[in-house]
């Protein structure tokens, strides 16, 4: 590994950690601005506006809410880095455990949606660039202006109405066919005895989280009928996410394709007598695709937010659905935990995008 690559890597990671700390600080400040006194804070932790005063005092003691603010902030950060987000007021289990199992389900949905979005976006974007300033270009532009202006729930409803209820192509809701029975969870970790004792609980939690999305669970269990059903149930919500977010990819692809098509090496390819399709989709496309990587983090955040609504409409029981439940139950602890975990995911996506960009375009690393 070259030294410049290493410096690039380290700088990006430090940047991500600093942003994360700032995000935690921001949320801490906002919560303390909204609830400035220990009693008001305790009400948030209690999860009910009608908490008896005695219980409030217990909570203040338990969470140290009357301590000086810097001490509280230190506790808050340490707790978050230990994965201690508080106890869910509804399920009465640690928040990390609930979200740990629900987040991968949402990630599966969001990542599938993003893959669809990038495919649609790259295709329409290069189509528009190759037919610049003619009806194809204008039609593509009209389509993406409408789709990115559509509220995500409208897209969900329309897909459900036409593809699921009218044409009966795909199932309208749920994670998988409920009559199939869930794939059996991964049991008996043979590798657990190898790792030291304190890590075992953590590791088994991690394995449970990774195997919680329906596709992975079915594949690990070898239950292929469930797998097919899960794929069928995944397509519509993922498509809804893709439709609301592909416009950004189209727009950037079009711009960078137009830029690439004006370059000398593309002109050379034309002069060599290569066909238009070969030049557009072979030569120009390969270089125009690189800037799309920078969109990954942006799209990821946008789609994760959209997944909250999509999961509500499609009864897709992941973290988004859990968020909606938390809003209805005024479960503040859950909402704060979700906010921070989504923040961590988006910052991680940012980091991945930065590293990918550095890999795809070596010039970036030298800056």
């Amino acid at each position: 590994m070259q030294i410049s690559t290493l410096i690039y890597l380290v700088r990006r990671v430090i940047n991500a950690v600093v942003t994360l700390l700032l995000l935690i600080f921001l949320i801490f400040v906002l919560v303390h601005t909204i609830a400035p006194t220990p009693v008001a804070l305790a009400r948030i932790y209690c999860g009910s506006p009608h908490c008896p005063p005695a219980e409030l005092q217990v909570i203040i003691q338990q969470y140290g809410l009357s301590l000086p603010l810097p001490v509280q902030f230190a506790h808050y950060v340490v707790n978050i880095f230990h994965g201690n987000f508080g106890t869910d007021t509804l399920y009465k289990v640690p928040e990390l455990q609930v979200i740990g199992e629900l987040l991968p389900i949402t990630l599966e949905l969001v990542i599938t949606g993003l893959i669809f979005a990038v495919i649609i976006g790259l295709f329409t974007g290069s189509l528009a660039a190759a037919n610049r300033n003619n009806p194809v270009d204008y039609t593509v532009k009209a389509v993406y202006l409408v789709t990115w202006s559509a509220p995500v729930f409208l897209v969900g409803f329309i897909l459900q109405l036409f593809l699921a209820y009218e044409l009966k192509l795909l199932p309208p809701s749920g994670l998988a066919n409920p009559t199939l029975g869930n794939p059996s969870p991964v049991t008996g970790y043979p590798y657990l005895s190898v790792v030291p004792q304190p890590l075992q609980g953590w590791l088994s939690g991690l394995v449970r989280a990774i195997t919680s999305p329906p596709l992975i669970a079915a594949a690990v269990d070898g239950d292929w009928r469930f797998f097919v059903s899960a794929v069928h149930h995944l397509v519509l919500p993922a498509l809804a996410i893709a439709i609301t977010s592909f416009g950004v990819v189209t727009r950037l692809t079009r711009a960078s394709m137009i830029d690439a098509l004006d370059r000398d090496y593309v002109k050379l390819s034309f002069m060599k007598g290569l066909s238009k399709n070969r030049v557009v989709y072979g030569t120009a496309f390969r270089n125009a695709v690189i800037p799309i990587i920078t969109l990954i983090a942006l799209l990821f955040g946008f789609s994760t937010a959209g997944a909250v609504v999509i999961e509500d409409i499609f009864q897709y029981h992941g973290m988004g659905y859990f968020t909606v439940q938390a809003i209805y139950n005024l479960d503040y602890i859950a909402i704060l935990a979700i906010t921070i975990i989504v923040g961590i995911s988006v910052i991680a996506a940012n980091l991945v995008a930065d590293l990918l960009y550095g890999w795809a375009d070596p010039r970036v690393r030298l800056e």
Binding site: L30, I34, P135, L154
Partner: protein
């Protein structure tokens, strides 16, 4: 006229697009310049007409609602509507869209027999107020914070950049959910949380403008002639950085409406029985797909308004030339 011409006529740009230099020449061009251009473009003209109608209706209806609220004559709020938007009428429950009793049933009714059309019209001022208030507050806060940070630089600038980084690390909707739930449900808390999350983009934008403007000749000249910093900012930096932000703001009105109605869809904001575009759509969820109009028509109305804002913003960005950087 062939298909190509029709498509070009309705989707393409009409006339010649003025080059960026025209705008950059000075502020002479102003709003008349944009307006001229937008009216010449047929699609943009339609969008502008719809937005004008939406805004004008919101002002009239919003004033009536406010006067009705202040004078305790709530009925004034629905004096102009085809029917009372919050009166239960179970005889007309779940009436599909039809032309009978025009225009009351044109968009159908919900479970309580309330006309969807009346409820949509009644809720319009809330969306308009959210869009305009949030964007303009964002611009004002962003302008003050961003310009000063960019102009003076130093640690204030550093702090600002890091704070906006933290804000922009999260998707706006997620932060808005957390803030408005913490603030307690209600229209005001949604507005406050939207304003809180909306200003950082503008702050970064104005900072970039101030950074590039402060080394320009006319600012340097003003500095040399002994003008104090405050006057330089007021006379030179502010006026010159506002123009490019207009195009982005036009697009942003639509974004605010989308976020606001998504929050309403999730049950945050105005509480029943008062209607709200997003929450009307989610209230129809249990009755979907048999009573599709309840969920879909409010969504289509939101989309129409947002598409119009997006179109205008998009055309204005073309006009200014290139995407904005912030």
């Amino acid at each position: 006229m062939g298909v190509k011409e029709i498509v070009k006529k309705f989707l393409g740009y009409r006339g010649t697009i003025p080059t960026a230099t025209v705008v950059k020449e000075g502020r002479l061009s102003g709003y008349r310049f944009y307006l001229d251009y937008l009216i010449k473009d047929k699609v943009a003209a339609v969008a502008l007409a719809i937005i004008t109608l939406f805004t004008a209706w919101s002002v009239v209806e919003g004033t009536l609602q406010y006067v009705g609220y202040a004078t305790r004559h709530r009925a004034l709020g629905w004096a102009l509507l085809p029917s009372n938007p919050i009166a239960l009428n179970f005889a007309a429950s779940l009436h599909p869209p039809s032309l009978s009793h025009f225009p009351v049933y044109i968009f159908g009714t919900n479970f309580s027999g309330e006309s969807i059309l009346s409820r949509l019209l009644y809720a319009a001022p809330k969306d308009a107020l959210a869009a305009y208030l949030v964007v303009f507050s964002g611009i004002i806060i962003g302008m003050l914070v961003g310009t000063f940070a960019g102009y003076f630089g130093g640690w204030a600038d550093e702090v600002l950049m890091r704070v906006t980084d933290a804000f922009l690390a999260l998707p706006g909707l997620v932060l808005a959910i957390a803030l408005s739930v913490l603030l307690g449900s209600g229209y005001n808390s949604v507005l406050i949380s939207l304003i809180l999350i909306w200003w950082p983009t503008y702050a970064r934008f104005f900072r970039a403008q101030a950074l590039s403007l402060k080394s320009r000749g006319f600012v340097e000249a003003s500095k040399l002639s002994g003008q104090n910093s405050l006057m330089i900012i007021l006379r030179h930096i502010f006026p010159n950085s506002v123009d490019p932000v207009i195009a982005y703001a036009a697009l942003d009105f639509g974004n605010v409406i989308l976020t606001y109605s998504t929050l309403a869809f999730l049950g945050i904001g105005i509480q029943p029985p008062y209607p709200e575009w997003g929450s009307m759509s989610s209230n129809g969820l249990p009755y979907f797909p048999q009573n599709w109009w309840w969920s879909i028509i409010p969504g289509l109305v939101i989309m129409t308004v947002v598409v119009c804002f997006t179109l205008i913003g998009d055309r204005m960005q073309d006009l200014i030339g290139g995407r904005l950087t912030y």
